[in-house]
């Protein structure tokens, strides 16, 4: 189990440096406001902050009390207030209301706003409009890369997805470019760059500009990471919309992993308390099962439990000296393993309770049917029933989107009726949700005569026009034809199975979806890495509507060691799922690569759908 890496697999760079950098910078910023101060932290920043600097470090630098930024009256009596926030207008208004309330009360305090990861001009504008620009001092905490694991860096910017792919807001692209620049200054230049997607291209070009401006800094450095691959989430929505069945993905879908840790409730811990558990390579039990198909996990864990018992049992027949040795050296490790083991067994049971039911099997069956493109009518009725029964608003949306993308849009009749049913179940505000989904290309209607190749070429022309920014809303859904079926055929995403797919000994990346489907994103990466270019993939690129946004850039640097050339940084713009991570880890083991993941945030189908949903406040 838990496939070991090949012996020649390259070592991963040490990313803990990023944490130290972030911590030092934060401390520096806190010290800029000498003396005791209360710190107001935006909710979304709390978990990432905790991974960088815990409460005692904050206290050491004279942070007195910690508050969450929320719409509640502030009780702080401190003379100095420091705000640690994302650059959002709503935060500015919060700070303004607080400062203005102080002004009315005739109170003077010192205020400092620390924006993370950067300050936006619009925020300063709002501070000015609210009349407090002169009262606060502003700073930036350029903390944009949180190492969640040895091979996973997260920007912890879940809003990237909605901001860019729905609102067309490009502000965060600069943040991505800065993060890449930081990586290249710390870990040397990347000799080979590939990318696909409009955002990927923009981020890449901005990053290049940054490197040129600071010419010479990375020059002459030996590259540690041989390849970088940038990929837009909208290149592959399908994979992100599928139910996850590898353990880590399933834990994320079921319990929601937040910033690398998960809250296991009483049903898992089999006590009356919830427990926050850090999930990463340091958890030896988790490390062995995280990438496994769920069907193997339980068996593995019980085997593990038996082994553990056997180790405990060795105590019998030990003499005093051996026993002393055992207690001092092994027992602690065994106990730790025991604790982790029972947690993961608890989690498994809880997942099984939820997922092994009939419903889940049916759901997976429907998903596979959609991916493979058969029984479309049946799947459509399944989805309709799902909506009618109010099973789950988010799940229903997800299935509708999956149907739309795999089928190149819904036929007009279904488009209307599914939406009608959904509105009846969940309320009229979702009219806006549907408008969002349409704009993002997630849920669209088939246009008449779309199948003609002539139209297809017209479509790709429209996409080019879009690059020039001239496309109108009316065409956008047309332009975002997913062409999934054709792409799937070209890239062989649905493996032909003779007999049972052995999930214990997977033969390809499809194992992360029970052998039914190779994640498109991962397949693209595999193909490009194999060719070291997009050559021969023209048709796929065209079908992905990425004609102008697939790029390769190789520097003729022969400084790269063969080891570094087997290290690949994959950048997901708009989020990646644990299934994709598992699939690429598998690919890495097969080919002797190591993948490093950089994502704007770890995501899953529910998060994507929630980002698109309109909620009544």
């Amino acid at each position: 189990m838990a496939f070991p890496h090949r012996l020649d697999a390259p070592e991963l760079p040490d990313f803990s440096m990023l944490k130290r950098l972030a911590r030092d910078q934060l401390i520096y910023l806190l010290e800029q406001l000498p003396g005791k101060k209360d710190l107001f932290i935006e909710a979304d920043l709390m978990s990432p902050l905790d991974r960088i600097a815990n409460v005692s470090i904050l206290k050491q630098h004279e942070v007195d009390k910690l508050y969450k930024v929320e719409n509640k009256p502030v009780l702080s009596s401190n003379e100095q207030l420091c705000f640690l926030v994302r650059p959002r207008i709503k935060n500015m208004r919060y700070i303004a209301s607080l400062v203005n309330a102080d002004k009315v009360a005739g109170r003077t305090r010192k205020y400092k706003v620390i924006f993370s990861p950067q300050k936006f001009y619009a925020c300063e504008m709002v501070l000015e409009e609210e009349g407090i620009y002169g009262d606060v001092s502003c700073d930036e905490w350029a903390f944009s890369l949180l190492p969640l694991d040895v091979d996973l860096l997260s920007m912890e910017l879940p809003e990237f997805f909605r901001d860019y792919f729905l609102e067309g807001d490009q502000r965060w692209i600069n943040t991505v470019a800065q993060a890449l620049h930081l990586l290249s200054t710390l870990y040397g230049p990347f000799p080979n760059c590939y990318g696909i997607g409009r955002c990927a291209k923009m981020a890449y070009e901005l990053w290049r500009k940054l490197e040129e401006e600071e010419d010479g800094e990375t020059k002459g450095r030996r590259p540690e990471i041989g390849h970088i691959f940038l990929l837009d989430r909208d290149v592959d929505f399908v994979t992100a919309l599928c139910s996850q069945v590898v353990y880590e993905g399933l834990v994320d879908d079921t319990f929601r992993i937040k910033c690398g840790s998960v809250d296991f409730g009483p049903e898992v811990t089999s006590s009356d308390k919830s427990l926050k558990v850090l999930l990463n390579a340091e958890d030896k039990v988790f490390h062995e099962i995280r990438n496994e198909h769920f069907s193997n996990v339980f068996g593995f864990l019980s085997q593990k439990a038996r082994n553990l018992q056997a180790q405990y049992d060795r105590r019998r027949g030990m003499d005093i000296k051996q026993m002393k040795n055992f207690v001092s050296q092994e027992l602690k490790g065994l106990k730790q393993e025991h604790r982790l083991l029972s947690l993961h067994i608890g989690a498994c049971e809880s997942i099984m309770k939820k997922k092994t039911k009939q419903d889940f099997q049916e759901l997976i069956k429907t998903e596979h049917a959609l991916l493979e493109g058969f029984n479309i009518r049946e799947s459509t009725s399944y989805i309709e029933e799902h909506i009618d029964r109010q099973v789950s608003p988010i799940e229903s949306l997800r299935l509708m989107c999956l149907l739309s993308i795999t089928e190149n849009g819904l036929i007009p009749k279904d488009y209307r009726s599914l939406k009608t049913q959904y509105l009846q179940s969940y309320g009229p505000e979702h009219l806006l949700t549907f408008s969002n989904l349409r704009r993002a290309g997630l849920l669209t209607e088939q246009g008449p005569g779309d199948t003609l190749t002539a139209v297809e070429s017209k479509v790709s022309k429209l996409v080019t026009d879009k690059a020039a920014g001239k496309i109108t809303d009316a065409f956008s859904s047309l332009a975002k034809r997913s062409n999934f079926r054709a792409i799937s055929k070209k890239l062989n995403l649905i493996p032909r199975v003779d007999g049972e797919y052995d999930l214990k000994v997977p033969r390809d990346m499809a194992y992360v979806f029970s052998g039914a489907y190779v994640p498109l994103s991962c397949r693209i990466i595999e193909q490009v890495l194999e060719r070291r270019s997009w050559q021969g993939l023209d048709e796929v690129v065209r079908l992905l509507n990425c004609g102008d946004f697939a790029f390769t850039d190789m520097t003729k640097e022969d400084k790269a060691s063969s080891e570094s050339l087997r290290l690949i940084l994959v950048v997901f713009l708009g989020g990646c799922t644990f299934s994709e991570i598992s699939a690429l880890r598998f690919l890495g083991r097969e080919k002797g690569y190591r993948f490093i993941f950089l994502t704007t945030a770890v995501t899953n189908s529910a998060r994507l759908m929630e980002a698109m949903s309109e909620v009544k406040a």
């Binding site: 936006f120 067309g168 502000r171 692209i173 309709e384 009846q424 009229p428």
Partner: protein, 695 residues
């Protein structure tokens, strides 16, 4: 060669000095120096001479000439003074000549006699005229201090960033002080002045009397004072012929010297060589020069750095020499050659007789894409000289589009600035330009501009969504974007409006917009919602309870749960709820109520459109196996096995599966066979399987 010490002369007991000529002045002076205002720039900079005709009783009819020479007397510029009477001249640290006029106006010239700008020292100075003025240097730049006819001081510590300070009054000051100087301490400029036997120190806030430590008694007046270049030392000459030398902080005396001359000296200055421990004051009378020194503490002069040296060369337009020095010193391009070339280009754009095209081409030819050259800086200079077109041409050579933006904005080419900002990918820059545009253009034009720039538009929309909702609406209106307008009003119907009438009205506006957008689906859905809202309000009035804002489905469910079956039916008909949904809904609601009787009645009302398996499932979910069994028998053949298994009838399930000869069903049943109780059933299945395989 024979005697090195031949030309050294003794100075005091332990020191010697010698005099030799470094170079001779090239100038050919027509005036006597004594009749001129003279200013020599520090660090061997240029010398300015202005014959001072205003000091004479009768003003001469001829205009005076302002001559500028290099330190070695090479003429650099000569111009006729056409302005008002000048009181004082001084060079700034940037080698700009500051000419302080009697009316408080300060005219600024470059070292080639080119007029740069002028500024005024304020109304008070204008009214009371300038009696005396000093140009002084601080670490921030160069300042000007003025003594007015009303015996008040006004100063600006940095003429580059003009902030005028009027110093406090000196109590009882009736006439001009006998001497004064500017002191700089702790980054603040003070004025030290002498009135009779008293010394006063003026700062921004107060005037305080000060004394000199260790000053010999008997002084009734100070005739001259001098502060050293670094503001660390001070020397005063008293009417008793006594020179006091000490620190400028007035805390310490360094030495004193009685020269026995009681006449006021013409000039007194500090002098000493860089790094020399010997500090000395040179005092000059009409025909006598005296050097007074002490040797105790080292002084470090700030040396000219190589950068400043290059700047000086550039200022003298000695570009080739500067470049040679850079190359000789192997300075990095960015600090060296590129910078010199950029300066040359800035000079070039001032040549008004050359056409825009030629200047731009010449500059580009010479500079190419040398690293470190900022075309936007050069363009800014061109714009400063009034050559907007040239500036735009030069900007085109600027590779970093972001750098072009500030100047374009300044030149009011905001639309061009917008596209350049977008090109740069810097959204903050785009936003800055947007706000410029918003103030500069009328609303209509502003929106039109946005329309062609989707990236800027979405940025602005995002801002409006949070900060200016009304503008957002206007934006959509302007674009005839009825779809978005519809969405806008939908959101308003539940986010902004509270009263039901307001909400319905918002929805009506939304529906109208959707019709205009030819989105009939959304329009109809919105109209349905208006109906539902009104109905929910009525339900609340008539039945009590909470109905508003429930979805249609939940409204019907709530009615059933409340026992209002008739109303529920009516609602379902009115809103054309499909049968399937209604059956699911009723099934769930009745099971929740555990109203098994009603459920059974319902199940028999007509043939179920969702089959009967859901009935079985929901009864099991409510732990009512008895009821579940009732429905299991009615489940269609396809789902029969599942139903039987649900109610726990494994044996019958096996029979059905065997009858169906369905392998999947067989294994399903088998998986439900547990140990002892179902042993027989399991065997039965195995036998059936074996038989099936034989065939």
């Amino acid at each position: 060669m024979d005697c090195y010490t031949a030309n050294w002369n003794p100075l005091g007991d332990s020191a010697f000095y010698r005099k030799y000529e470094l170079y001779s002045m090239d100038w050919d002076l027509k005036e006597e120096l004594r009749d001129c205002l003279v200013a020599a720039a520090p660090y061997g900079g240029p010398i300015a001479l202005l014959r001072n005709p205003w000091r004479k009783e009768k003003a001469a009819s001829v205009r005076p000439v302002l001559d500028i020479y290099s330190a070695s007397g090479m003429p650099l510029a000569s111009l006729l003074w056409k302005s008002g009477p000048v009181v004082s001249l001084g060079w700034s640290a940037e080698e700009e000549l500051l000419c302080v006029q009697e009316d408080g106006a300060v005219l600024v010239y470059g070292l080639h006699g080119d007029f740069r700008r002028h500024f005024s020292m304020g109304n008070e100075v204008l009214q009371n005229r300038v009696l005396d003025a000093r140009v002084f240097h601080t670490e921030f730049g160069s300042g000007v201090a003025i003594l007015t006819g009303a015996h008040r001081f006004t100063l600006s510590a940095n003429v580059g960033d003009l902030k005028l300070r009027r110093m406090p009054e000196v109590p009882g000051l009736q006439s001009a002080p006998s001497c004064w100087t500017v002191l700089c301490q702790d980054r603040v400029a003070h004025i030290l002045l002498a009135v009779g036997p008293d010394l006063y120190l003026l700062d921004h806030a107060a005037c305080s009397a000060v004394t000199l430590p260790g000053l010999a008694p008997g002084v009734s007046s100070f005739l001259q004072m001098a502060v050293s270049f670094t503001y660390r030392h001070l020397a005063l000459f008293t009417d008793t012929g006594y020179i006091w030398m000490g620190t400028a902080s007035l805390k310490e005396k360094l030495c004193e010297f009685n020269c026995n001359i009681r006449a006021a000296p013409k000039q007194m200055v500090w002098c000493s060589r860089p790094r020399s421990k010997e500090r000395a004051v040179v005092v000059a009378w009409e025909r006598r020069l005296m050097v007074v020194g002490d040797a105790s503490e080292s002084i470090q002069y700030k040396q000219l750095t190589i950068q400043v040296l290059l700047d000086r060369l550039v200022l003298r337009r000695l570009y080739p020499l500067a470049i040679q020095i850079c190359e000789y010193l192997r300075l990095p391009e960015v600090q060296g050659v590129s910078r010199i070339l950029a300066h040359w280009a800035c000079y070039k754009v001032q040549q008004k007789d050359v056409s825009d095209e030629d200047v731009a081409r010449a500059i580009n030819q010479k500079l190419g894409d040398t690293p470190g050259v900022s075309y936007s800086d050069i363009a800014a200079r061109a714009y400063g000289c009034g050559r907007t077109e040239l500036a735009i041409k030069l900007l085109e050579y600027e590779p970093r589009s972001g750098e072009q933006v500030p100047l374009l904005l300044k030149m009011k080419r905001s639309k061009l600035a917008l596209s350049k900002a977008i090109e740069s990918g810097d959204t903050d820059l785009v936003f800055t330009v947007l706000l410029h545009l918003k103030n500069e253009l009328n609303r209509g034009d502003f929106f039109m501009t946005l329309r062609n720039q989707p990236m800027a538009l979405s940025l602005y929309r995002q801002f409006c969504k949070h900060q200016e909702l009304e503008t957002l609406k206007d934006l959509y209106n302007q674009d005839d974007n009825h779809q978005e307008l519809g969405s806008f009003h939908i959101r308003a119907s539940y986010a902004a409006e509270e009263r039901i009438e307001g909400r319905v009205a918002a929805l009506q506006t939304a529906a109208d917009a959707f019709y205009k957008a030819k989105n009939e689906f959304a329009a109809k859905a919105t109209e349905d919602q208006m109906r539902l809202l009104r109905l929910q309000r009525r339900l609340e009035d008539e039945l009590g309870g909470q109905f508003l804002d429930l979805s249609l489905h939940d409204t019907v469910t709530t009615l059933i749960l409340g026992g209002h079956n008739k109303r529920a039916e009516q609602l379902a008909r009115d809103f054309r709820i499909p049968d399937k949904r209604l059956w699911w809904l009723k099934l769930t609601a009745l099971a929740d109520l555990e109203d098994w009787e009603e459920l059974e009645k319902f199940s028999k009302s007509k043939k179920s459109p969702i089959g009967y398996l859901p009935f079985v499932e929901i009864c099991i979910k409510q732990h009512n196996k008895y009821e579940a069994k009732k429905y299991a028998s009615r489940v269609g053949p396809e789902q029969k096995v599942k139903a039987l298994l649900l109610v726990g009838d494994v044996a019958q399930a096996a029979d059905v599966a065997i009858e169906h000869r369905n392998e999947a069903e067989l294994s399903l049943v088998l998986s439900h066979c547990t140990g002892a109780t179902d042993g027989a059933t399991a065997d039965k299945i195995q036998r059936a399987r074996a038989q099936a395989q034989k065939k």
